[in-house]
Symmetry: C2
Subunit: 220 residues, 2 copies
DNA sequence: AATTTGAATATTGTATACAATATGCGGAAA
DNA sequence: TTTCCGCATATTGTATACAATATTCAAATT
């Protein structure tokens, strides 16, 4: 019984996964209210597990709850997204520094493979997911599970915003891939200072690429 | 109607506050299971709002939930506490750098007052709370609400461990107060680099003070 | 004796029913 | 017309009842 993969999942968890998926995919748009009875009937469950799922999603930052007013898909302001990028930088900077000394050849190989996968034509749609997996694999050797879980939530919330509001430009994506590759090379050379500097540039560039486009849109 | 302080609170929120308080105060000890029916009857509510409160607390890291097995007060391993201290450093380093340029005389005065209050004889019992308030006031000018909320959770979880396992030594506390004071002075001088360096020393010293004592205890 | 099986019990997960609160609309008063 | 009140409706919050799962402990088998 090494891998008890068929673990007992509760309805609430199931529902939470479904709704999270819809929010991340953009099927549920920011600001949209979630009527409990309606969704419960649609999914074939009662409101009780649905409410617990909503609590979970609220904790993850995907919905906001107000007493007697219900749940709405959490709207992210531009300021909040910028703050999330700053959070990324704070967390990833620390994780990268702690991860590099513990990376092995297996890690580098996996990172290379992920970069290749990102460059594949169908990698475009899965940009958010692949980008996360790259960073996740990169920070796994740091052995900081709590921090990593936190970071995942930050990435997800950023992705949701991206998916909703804007697609990243082709140049932006290519630049991202190049920087990923350089990041791996610096890690291979155990150049912690260099890698941290590049990571900072990488994240702030992504943030600016995004927010600049958003500001232009806001003016139209 | 500027401050609608008597906002409608739900039973679930009330229960969550009560349980959180008990956990932070150490009345509910780490590893202790929480029987839903028992607690619900004691608090005079049904299990439904209690369950929602437990979800909330789980999201905050105070309890862990397992399907069909119930809730237990989350046990914190030494490794996790050390990781929380690292998280503190990652977050607070970024917040401090962003806060210092926006601090005004009012902020400095409030910080001084908090240090005095910490030194008061009755400040001993409220060490955790006062320590948090000092750091909170310090980072408020950074205007990063999401990050600050996250940081509060980290502090709370660390405090819980402290309260439960160990009281900080008198020398440790005094050193902490001195460093708080120096921190304010460096901020007054807008010496960001110096303040960051001291903050790193401050947090790692606190962590080591704690974990060293813990390791000694583990050997007995 | 040690291990296993399985029914009895305890505990959690979910559905249904009811209570409390918010929302929307129509009419009355200014 | 505009504003404000109050009732009707919709929606959320909570209690009770029931179903599903886990735990316990004693008997049976080796």
């Amino acid at each position: 019984m090494a891998d008890d993969t068929i673990l007992k999942r509760t309805m609430a968890e199931e529902v939470a996964d479904i709704l999270r998926g819809r929010i991340l995919a953009g099927r549920l748009k920011a600001g949209e209210p979630i009527r409990q009875e309606h969704v419960a009937k649609e999914l074939g469950v009662s409101r009780i597990p649905l409410r617990e799922a909503l609590s979970q999603l609220a904790a993850e930052g995907f919905v906001t709850l107000a007493a007697h007013k219900g749940a709405v898909v959490a709207p992210l302001s531009l300021a909040e997204v910028e703050e999330l990028f700053e959070l990324r930088l704070m967390l990833e900077d620390g994780l990268l520094a702690r991860a590099i000394p513990h990376m092995g050849e297996g890690d580098f190989a996996m990172l290379d493979a992920l970069i290749d996968e990102s460059r594949a034509p169908d990698g475009l749609k899965r940009w958010g997911e692949l980008n996360w997996r790259f960073h996740e694999v990169m920070y796994l050797p740091a052995a900081r599970p709590v921090t990593l879980k936190l970071l995942r939530r930050v990435h997800d919330n950023i992705d949701r915003y991206l998916r909703l509001e804007i697609a990243m430009s082709a140049e932006g994506r290519n630049r991202g891939y190049r920087e990923h590759q350089e990041l791996v090379e610096l890690a291979r050379a155990r150049d912690i200072a260099g890698a941290r500097k590049l990571l900072a540039k990488h994240i702030t560039a992504t943030a600016e690429n995004l927010t600049a486009t958003l500001k232009v849109r806001a003016e139209t």
